[in-house]
């Protein structure tokens, strides 16, 4: 099977699919910026926003809603679009003394017939005027049945901090996934070597571990670039990040161990033992500890984990094939490296 072509070709095709679809699919419209976030009850408020991937000037039914905490919605009375991504919504904000608080936090929902809807949660702060005026009970509506829907289109979700970098999901995370798949296979071959003492198994384990370390380093680099754009720094003191750096150190030490031993049989045996030991030590390192302490990564510190609302169906459609594609590419690289190692081994035996 390893010598056949179909899986290599399908791996490359899947990666092409990932790259083309992952990089070319547009994002859903979103709200980038909101100018006046503080409004007072009783006034006519102008809320100016900057949108992303929106068509405010082409759409004729621009409308916005303020969603209050008690599931009431306040529709805008008018909307003036300045360009495709700039628009001013006008709200006639009533007094609503029933929630005894001084400041009410509202989410802004915008909607038109071309872009559909976009939400900016907890973005508008409505301050109660000191002198309560007349209460417009009828100003609020109970549901959003008035939303216009442009129909389904294949687009990635817009997330406020991520913006376009959401596409890195297909590279950064999938590289980790395939790294772990290959590390696990490498440990499997290390155990098999320890059991049957066949040199081939050790070479496979070595090739797999080498390629996984390469993928791990690529994962670190893509993660670092991602962190620069979302969190603002190349390197953060985030646990998961530093744990992974340590994991890389552990596996780099594996290669130091390999190169430091002269006797080949001993090298294979000790390296296999270290590989198994390191993998076991890695499990608490990468999976357990980051879940205990706060992390900026999904899965802890209030961030949702994979499979929650983080990954919507359009992303899944690219994400899961991408894991398969990177793993197939990794196996291809491994098989090439394994053949090089095998040839070297044979040459060594001849001399």
């Amino acid at each position: 099977m390893m010598r056949q072509w179909w899986w290599k070709i399908s791996g490359v095709l899947i990666l092409l699919y990932t790259i083309i679809l992952g990089l070319l699919t547009p994002l859903k419209p979103g709200i980038v910026k909101i100018h006046n976030t503080q409004v007072t009850s009783g006034e006519v408020a102008e809320i100016e926003i900057v949108g992303y991937n929106t068509h405010f000037d082409e759409a004729s039914q621009n409308k916005a809603y303020l969603r209050l905490e008690n599931e009431k919605y306040l529709p805008s009375t008018n909307a003036i679009s300045h360009s495709f991504n700039e628009i001013t919504y006008i709200f006639d904000i009533p007094h609503f003394p029933e929630s005894g608080e001084k400041i009410v936090v509202a989410s802004l929902i915008i909607n038109n017939e071309i872009d559909g809807s976009a939400v900016l949660p907890a973005s508008v702060f409505i301050q109660q005027a000191p002198v309560p005026g007349a209460i417009h009970e009828g100003a609020f509506i109970d549901n959003l049945s008035g939303l216009v829907d442009p129909g389904w289109s294949f687009r990635f979700p817009y997330r406020s901090i991520l913006h376009e970098t959401i596409r890195n999901t297909f590279f950064h995370i999938t590289l980790w996934f395939s790294m772990f798949i290959m590390l696990g296979t490498g440990v499997f071959y290390a155990i098999r070597y320890l059991k049957y003492r066949r040199v081939n198994d050790d070479l496979k384990s070595r090739a797999l571990t080498s390629v996984s370390v390469l993928f791990g380093l690529l994962g670190l680099i893509t993660g670092s670039i991602w962190a620069r754009f979302t969190w603002g720094t190349w390197w953060t003191p985030d646990v998961k990040l530093n744990m992974t750096a340590v994991a890389m150190l552990i596996y780099l030490a594996y290669f130091v161990l390999r190169s430091s031993i002269k006797d080949q049989d001993q090298e294979a045996r000790l390296a296999s033992v270290y590989n198994v030991f390191a993998f076991v030590a890695l499990i608490p390192l990468v999976f357990v500890i980051p879940r205990l302490t706060d992390s900026l990564h999904p899965g802890s510190g209030g961030n949702p984990a994979l499979g929650g609302e983080d990954l919507d169906n359009t992303l899944r459609l690219v994400f899961y094939p991408a894991i398969l594609g990177f793993t197939l590419l990794g196996i291809w690289m491994t098989s090439l490296y394994y053949r090089i190692l095998n040839v070297k081994e044979k040459l060594l035996e001849k001399t």
Binding site: L194, A253, Y274, A281, V288
Partner: protein, 217 residues
Amino acid sequence: MVNRILHIIAKDFRVEFRQKHAIAGILLFAVTVVFIVFKTFNTFTSQEWALLLWILVLFSGINAVVKSFLQESKGTYLYYYTLLDPVEVVLSKLVYNFLLCFVLFLVILGCMALFSGYPVRDHVLFFSSSLLGLAGISIVYTMISALAATGGHSGTLMSILSLPLVLPVLLLLIKTTAVALGLLTDSTVSTDLLLLAGIDGVLISICLILFPIVWKS
């Protein structure tokens, strides 16, 4: 089996005390380093205290454990190999190294307490987490020293291989120590202790499985 393990441990202690310079050297190293650190810092905050304590234990621990498979000649090991089960050997070495690390820990702790005070508030938590953490550290060190000793270049190889592996234990330890020192308030500290015990358990079982393979060479 327990009897034989105890015998090996007793023998190791006798060998250790016969070569007094080795153990004295390690202890002197620990005391000197604590003194140097104290003189450069003069006063520590509790956080630095916790960090320095564990870093010193970690590094003097490497020095102490690295020779556990080197202090006797190859002939002696061949003799053990014919006589003993590898599991007994590794268990006795583990217990011995654990005791050695514990003594080192106590000496360093005593020196730090002498020079810069003793900020621990929750003694039970501090000592229980320290014991669990020392167990984890000594398991990793023992396993890696066995690997490094068979590989040849033990000194450098030992520190390169073992320090990253010891890190999960160390991070948990620093956290629990911080809680014991009153720097952090954390209600989930019992989970951390359980996790430490879990890591120890996993490491010890993998060590028992893998050591016989290393032992054969």
